[in-house]
């Protein structure tokens, strides 16, 4: 088994600049092939109304929107700000998968998922998910599915900055 490969083989670490590769898809924008889905990973403040406008359609009767905002405390300890890091191309691809699954599972019309990266202040929106559907139950279910799944599968990491240190959220048991 390769498990026994000598450690020396993996010791030849080199540093390289990957910023080119991982930053190229910071903003995918509207998908031309699939007008039902708008996925964006942005370093600028999220446009909630833009997400709502994207999903609104005359054959939809209900829109559900989830906005995840930066809270001022975690377990009673004051948080100064958050920092989000993303594996950008994979994060965008995983968000797109979630939107496609939601459309298939719940029969919803359109979905916008916008996520921030970089430094966020208290109260700012980290994520906006908007879903439109002919009837409201599907919109609620799909929106909840999107945020629940996003928090499990999308490669984005949140560091909480406290007065006395920093913690990567959920990293340790």
């Amino acid at each position: 088994m390769e498990l026994l490969v000598p450690l020396g083989r993996i010791s030849d670490w080199q540093i390289a600049d990957l910023s080119r590769e991982v930053n190229c898809s910071m903003a995918f924008g509207q998908d031309n092939l699939l007008k039902m889905i708008d996925i964006q990973l942005l370093t600028t403040p999220l446009d909630t109304l833009g997400c709502i406008s994207f999903v609104q359609s005359d054959d939809s009767g209900g829109i559900d929107v989830f906005i995840g905002t930066v809270r001022n405390a975690t377990k009673g300890k004051p948080v100064l700000r958050l920092e989000f890091e993303a594996y950008e191309p994979m994060a965008v691809a995983e968000m797109r998968k979630i939107a496609e699954q939601a459309i298939q599972k719940f029969g919803v019309k359109r979905i916008a998922i916008h996520h921030r990266s970089g430094i966020l202040e208290i109260g700012e929106a980290a994520v906006v998910i908007a879903v439109s559907a002919p009837h409201r139950a599907a919109a609620f279910d799909a929106c909840r599915y999107c945020i629940d799944t996003l928090k499990e599968t999308v490669p984005i990491w949140k560091k909480e900055i406290f007065e006395d240190g920093e913690v990567w959220v959920a990293a340790h048991p």
Binding site: M1, E2, L3, V5, L7, R9, I10, S11, D12, W13, Q14, I15, A16, D17, L18, E21, V22, G68, F84, E85, A86, Y87, P89, M90, A91, A93, H115, A126, V127, I147, L150, K151, E152, T153, V154, P155, I156, W157, K158, K159, W168, V169, A170, A171, H172, P173
Partner: protein, 80 residues
Amino acid sequence: MKISLLSFGIAKEITGQRFLEVEIPASASVKALRAMLVERFPRLSSLSSVRLAVNGEYATEDLTLKENDEVAIIPPVSGG
């Protein structure tokens, strides 16, 4: 063979670099790479979970790696 290794979040702090080029045995599996990584960076074992993604997709343990694959160490995600 050579692969690219990306580390994010707490994993970047453990490996020390966001990007590394790594020489591993030809046809190594994801499982084998995981074992190598844990041995080289024991603090990875302290994390709640470590998934490995190959070329932007979560990989199963039995996947065979190829030359120039991009492997990402995915510690517990916390977006949203």
